[in-house]
Symmetry: C2
């Protein structure tokens, strides 16, 4: 490799290309957070930031057997844009486990769940169009909506998920403005990042509203099978069309993924959509990446054909259930009284809200100095809200690391509280210091803190890698610290 | 599965969603061709339509060994958006084989070469922006450019590739209109679909023009290492910055792929871009699919670390070289004198131009009835040109099938010529019947027929699956017919 000249200044370089960038790149710009988060690739950092499943739980012998059975020439070749039939059939089995009856012809295989969101947005959204999402919403969806220059309106949540009253008010306001949302994006079950689950009554109301107003709902359900307590609730899709009905779904587009029940590394997600949308979605997929990996699709098809996939989900459930309890105990032990958090019945995430004099984006810099990472709440909003909240993941680190990570976060929060008390003379560590909008769930229920709407928006959206990517060690040779 | 009601009429269904679709879907609409082409999945069809490499040449024992060596937990986990370091290092070795000296830090791994084109367009193009491409251009790029609502201006080619004179005229015209193209898309070596290669003199002129006018050039080079005769030419990238220079590339973005030298099924392509563009491209990738498959990236990294990848390319070269000669002989034997075609020195494609009373989109319906398929020329244009031309692939079918496929095409072309002569009383099978704009290469050189610009544009762009996807048999269990 020849010696290279020193890097030119970033400012000079950017100027040179400035006129060339598409306008979407202005809203896609990264915040300082991206650089900060790069620090979390250090192996000594305990990351409660990612959305990583613990893939060290997967049996290496099974992995080797499945790979050994793959047909060489077919696995290396292109595949159909809509995905291999064997994979689409496997997907219908996964959906049947949540009481959904789907024709494989209505399934499109996507390059992970992320592409499912991207394709729906690509198919439906022109610049300035409204997309409705939850507040907070999946942090990886924010850059996608922004990349199509959508106007994202986020609806408040409580322990029972998205407020349908608030949704109706928003729809009425949009009506008065002569506007109509292109779709409503929701993760009704074990929501990312809030950890709450939409109640049955609200699910019914949302589906009725979609039918009545002919509104598309994108139901994103990556975690539905990862329930640790309570009874399963029907998906929006199955509420629109019961399993024994002869009707097609008209308004619910359903997105799923293998990422949390098998592996994110295979990049196999999916969409199930009404027929007229399917054709457009497939055209969009062809323009994006032609088809998803045939090799990993053969792996997935082989896995569902020959492995006990339900037993593996049971295993994951056991591990994550225990870690959820570990993190809840650790939060109770280490966070001050002024903090509050949700209590998820499943999934991978907890949403923590701190006193409103603490900015979690600033806090992250201090946390990284203590070798612990989380996702600052701002990443879950398109408008800069969420500054006092953070998302914590409990699926990817070992029990002891979860405890130690929360202990460190507790320590720096306590320092902030104490500094605030010294500077202001006011008590910072009591409930009085909390954001006034905080709402908690009832006994045993999952609560959620709403982001404080009055904060100044920063306009910065976090890049998706902050949220879903592992520390380098997890993919490039570091010994897994999975339990 | 419950019984479903009969499908509603497509017209009724589409109407219901009509107001919801993004405006890009209007230009992304499929033509009747898509349905026609679905017929090519029948195993009895000889497809000269795809862009498929012959993956049956890959050693199954090596495939099994590489898969057996993969680290389970890491291969199943998320990876960095920019790709695994091991893969980026392998990519620099592939590029070094074409005399390019690249820092792995400047490489982004993409989900196939298709995503490389998508990300560049996403980063640079607003609706109405100009993208310059070759005439004809890669048929899979047309839907991508259309999905960002680019105005695609295609520059004529001859045996020496894109006409730089014509490019300069177009740039001057755009100047007068106060417009500037966002980028110039070119496949300089063994162009898809034309099969021609840009001369060294034109390469130099194009790079000089890009520097002088500060224009981005997207150099797409999937086939550069698949040369069957003649000496290698430097890539545009290496002409902008020689391998021993300490400069960075400023204007050439380079796109490559493992699809034609290893496997399309792994979906591993790449981009090498100037630093200020890299950051935006990575943000775009995160919003699209977070990261490419970690599993297939581990496979690729393992392959380059432990297999003789250059020997495999030599093997592919031998097979494809022979098949190129087979198809050229078959064309000479079976096509009438009024047809002309290019003579590629490498790559996978030949461009055939027929008398201008033959429409190749219509011809395809007849060809499918004879169980043979090709890509109609229209797919390679954004404006409906190319109606008398077709793209033929010679890499994926066995020698005898290539001969038989060309024989069948020759037969139906002869029928068309004879019908024309009967109806008009004019000679259809001589050079006089050709499009007046046809240009041929010199002795031993590769020539190209230009699409007839005067034809009525249809506005229909072919979906990418027509062009890159295999018949179902190739991926779903049909015995490979590879030589």
């Amino acid at each position: 490799m020849s010696e290279r000249r020193p890097p030119r200044s970033a400012a000079h370089e950017l100027e040179r290309y400035d006129g060339l960038f598409a306008s979407r790149t202005r809203v896609m710009r990264s915040s300082a957070m991206r650089d900060l988060m790069a620090v979390t690739v250090r192996p000594e950092v305990i990351s409660l930031a990612g959305g990583l499943p613990d893939t060290s739980t997967f049996d290496p012998a099974l992995f080797a057997r499945l790979l050994g059975e793959m047909p060489t020439a077919q696995a290396l070749q292109y595949g159909p844009s809509e995905g291999l039939l064997g994979v689409r059939q496997a997907i219908t089995r996964v959906m049947a486990a949540e009481d959904m009856d789907v024709d494989p012809e209505h399934v499109i295989v996507t390059t992970g769940g992320q592409q499912a969101i991207d394709l729906v947005t690509k198919t439906l959204v022109d610049p300035g169009d409204v997309v409705i999402a939850e507040a907070p919403t999946y942090p990886g969806a924010v850059p996608t909506f922004c990349s199509y220059e959508a106007e994202v309106i986020q609806i408040e949540m409580d322990a029972d998920g998205m407020s349908i009253d608030a949704l109706e008010e928003t729809l009425a306001r949009l009506d008065r403005e002569g506007r109509r949302p292109k779709f409503i994006y929701t993760i009704p079950t074990f929501q990312n990042p809030a950890g709450v689950t939409m109640s049955l009554e609200r699910r019914r109301r949302l589906v009725a509203l979609a039918r009545e107003r002919e509104l598309i709902v994108l139901e994103d359900n990556p975690y539905g099978l990862l329930r640790y307590e309570g009874d399963p609730l029907p998906t929006l899709r199955s509420l629109e069309v019961p399993a024994d009905s002869t009707e097609d779904n008209d308004f619910v587009i359903y997105a799923g993924t293998m990422s949390k029940i098998l592996s994110p590394g295979v990049r196999v997600g999916w969409l199930v959509a009404p027929r007229p949308l399917l054709a457009k979605l497939i055209l969009g997929k062809q323009a994006s990446d032609l088809c998803s990996s045939t090799l990993t699709q053969h792996f997935v098809a082989g896995y569902f054909a020959s492995a006990d996939w339900r037993a593996y989900i049971d295993e994951l459930r056991d591990v994550y259930h225990r870690r959820r309890d570990v993190i809840l105990d650790a939060l109770a032990e280490h966070l001050p009284a002024a903090a509050s958090w949700t209590r998820p019945h499943g999934g991978l995430f907890i949403w923590v809200t701190l006193p409103d004099f603490i900015n979690t984006t600033d806090l992250l810099a201090r946390a990284l100095a203590e070798n612990v990472a989380f996702v600052p709440g701002e990443a879950a909003f398109a408008d800069g809200r969420g500054q006092h909240s953070m998302r914590l993941n409990f699926s990817s680190e070992a029990d002891d690391d979860i405890r130690e990570g929360v202990r460190r976060i507790g320590k720096i929060v306590a320092e902030q509280v104490s500094m605030y008390e010294k500077l202001t003379g006011r008590p910072g560590a009591t409930a009085a210091g909390r954001a006034a909008t905080a709402v908690h769930g009832g006994a045993g229920g999952a609560g959620v803190e709403r982001g404080a709407a009055e904060n100044t928006p920063t306009g910065d959206a976090l890049p998706a890698n902050v949220l879903e990517l592992p520390r380098r060690g997890a993919t490039e040779g570091r010994r897994s610290r999975g339990a």
